[in-house]
Symmetry: C2
Subunit: 342 residues, 2 copies
Amino acid sequence: MAGKRVTLADVARRAGLSPTSASMILNGRSDTRLSQDAHDRVIKAAAELGYRPNVAARGLRTDRTDTIGFISDVVATTRFASGLIKGALDRAHDAGHVLIVLETAGEPRREAEAVEAALDRQVDGVIFATMRSRELYVPPVPDGTRVVLLNATNELHPVSILPDEYAGGRAAVDLLAAAGHREGILLLGHNAEKERGLFRSMTVERRFAGIRDAMAEHGLQFMAEESIWLWEPENGYAAMTKLLKRHRSSLRAILALNDRLAFGAQQALTEAGLRVPDDVSIVSFDNDELASYMRPGLTTIALPHEAMGTAAVDAVLDPERTGEILVPMPVVERASIAAPRS
Amino acid sequence: MAGKRVTLADVARRAGLSPTSASMILNGRSDTRLSQDAHDRVIKAAAELGYRPNVAARGLRTDRTDTIGFISDVVATTRFASGLIKGALDRAHDAGHVLIVLETAGEPRREAEAVEAALDRQVDGVIFATMRSRELYVPPVPDGTRVVLLNATNELHPVSILPDEYAGGRAAVDLLAAAGHREGILLLGHNAEKERGLFRSMTVERRFAGIRDAMAEHGLQFMAEESIWLWEPENGYAAMTKLLKRHRSSLRAILALNDRLAFGAQQALTEAGLRVPDDVSIVSFDNDELASYMRPGLTTIALPHEAMGTAAVDAVLDPERTGEILVPMPVVERASIAAPRS
DNA sequence: ACGTCGTGCTAAATGGATTTAGCACCGACC
DNA sequence: GGTCGGTGCTAAATCCATTTAGCACGACGT
């Protein structure tokens, strides 16, 4: 609607000063000797005209655009991705920055294109996010540009935001132990023997480590460890249906490696006439949307999407932050854990 | 890594020509009289140096930045939002454009801020998206900037992308009718009498209309229409539990107004010992993630998130497109509909 | 009376591209 | 020989804001 944009020259003209003066005043530079009166006139003129600086023009001169590139392999498929984006968006907004969001589907060609598209627009920094945490290839980037890895790592750019999976793994075990579980505990989704040499993701390895260490410290052992490669509901359902044939009588608790497995497992339990948590307790990971829809609600160790997103933007903005930044995984207690049936 | 960016001047120098010539050649202008040899030299120099134009600088001159602002009230909460974004992202990528994503939480202050942040960066157009379709307030925007409403409408900017809910509503009824259902059909989520005067959302009203018309054409009537204000699983569960007391024996099919209600309802059915689809058929709307996790899978009329997102970018890019653009809602057939038990 | 210093402000360069206006040269034609 | 037209290319302006270098003026000191 409005005609065209107001420029700095317009403001200066209205204030009866040069653009130089107007620029200095609006940028709040303290070392100028401009009069109080000049200040007042410029501020007033800018307000009256509704002046907003042209970020592109400014960026040309200053090399800062208050714009960050957010490059992710996947954005829509998982709630995880959108949580990261939302966290990043919120923090960027607080800091007066803006996000250019790009998706690569994990294809190297598109990754390179995305970086270029971002750099073409003079972004101040780039965030690389992956869903399956891993060492990520990062195309070359000019010197001044901050690079932050979100749920990923890279040798050349040692700034990574990761969930504290080790502590999370421990927390899950602690929850079962605290409820009094000592026996009949099933690990659903992973079997260290069978999966030897297979790589899932950096962070999930840490989750396993946390679980293993905590089990040992509590002096506990799993009744069974079921390897499942794809952690989707149907696989949880299938595995659980099968497992119930052998372990039905001794099963007391399930430590599922994510909520989707837990969801499927619970469907199988329900169909078999077992009740959660009276007969079997369940704890799991991620705090997927599903977890809150289950009946009873699923107790789970949350993947802190949004906190990771905000941490990533913080890291771009603050060059001091460096190294591995671990974001705690909150325990979300719902109603799927109870004391074991004797 | 790389030192600093290569500029057009660098390319021109290497080709032994002026920036003017280099610019014209790289932009493929046909009306110049530059020699074939000059063309070759410039193209070669640009390739060797890895030249990429600075979009900000170009935008300053041309008022085009190949950048689109995507302003949404909510991004992470629903899968719907991220589907829209993904669709938009993909199409933008195809067209060599980039998206600045902004979130407003539906607050007018943040909406205004978001528009300004986008305009400050010289975007070519702005997409306004809402989750609950409605007439949306759009802050003033300069003349040349395209504005497209996504799942929303606005008087001043008559370019709207909307799901074809009317047809979708009809499709749901058709599905039940085709399976042979004539009686014992429950409408779950809305009661026209009780909700008279209450406004849910533009598109949902059309969904109702489609359902109503199709029912009439098939000569059918609902056994009951249950008003539920919040379409969440727990509400579906609660309503269904209650309804079963009265209608258990005659109930044959449920037309749920979204998948979350259907999900809750199905939990109630299962607990009551009724089986889907043998005892009761279910059809619903949205194609929420949940729908594929249910056992059996839920047949549903999909909200075409991604298609809507791509349509929005198309509309920004093509000034010819105008008016209400209706995107079809695909029927996703799974396994929740069967012929009625006699 | 003249140099010095502080005060208040501005001209012009800059960043990287596009675009307008026009220059220099060559051959053809009268 | 002068003019006209075409060919091949470039200087300079422009977009908008920031920044460097420095001008003009008055007061002060000696």
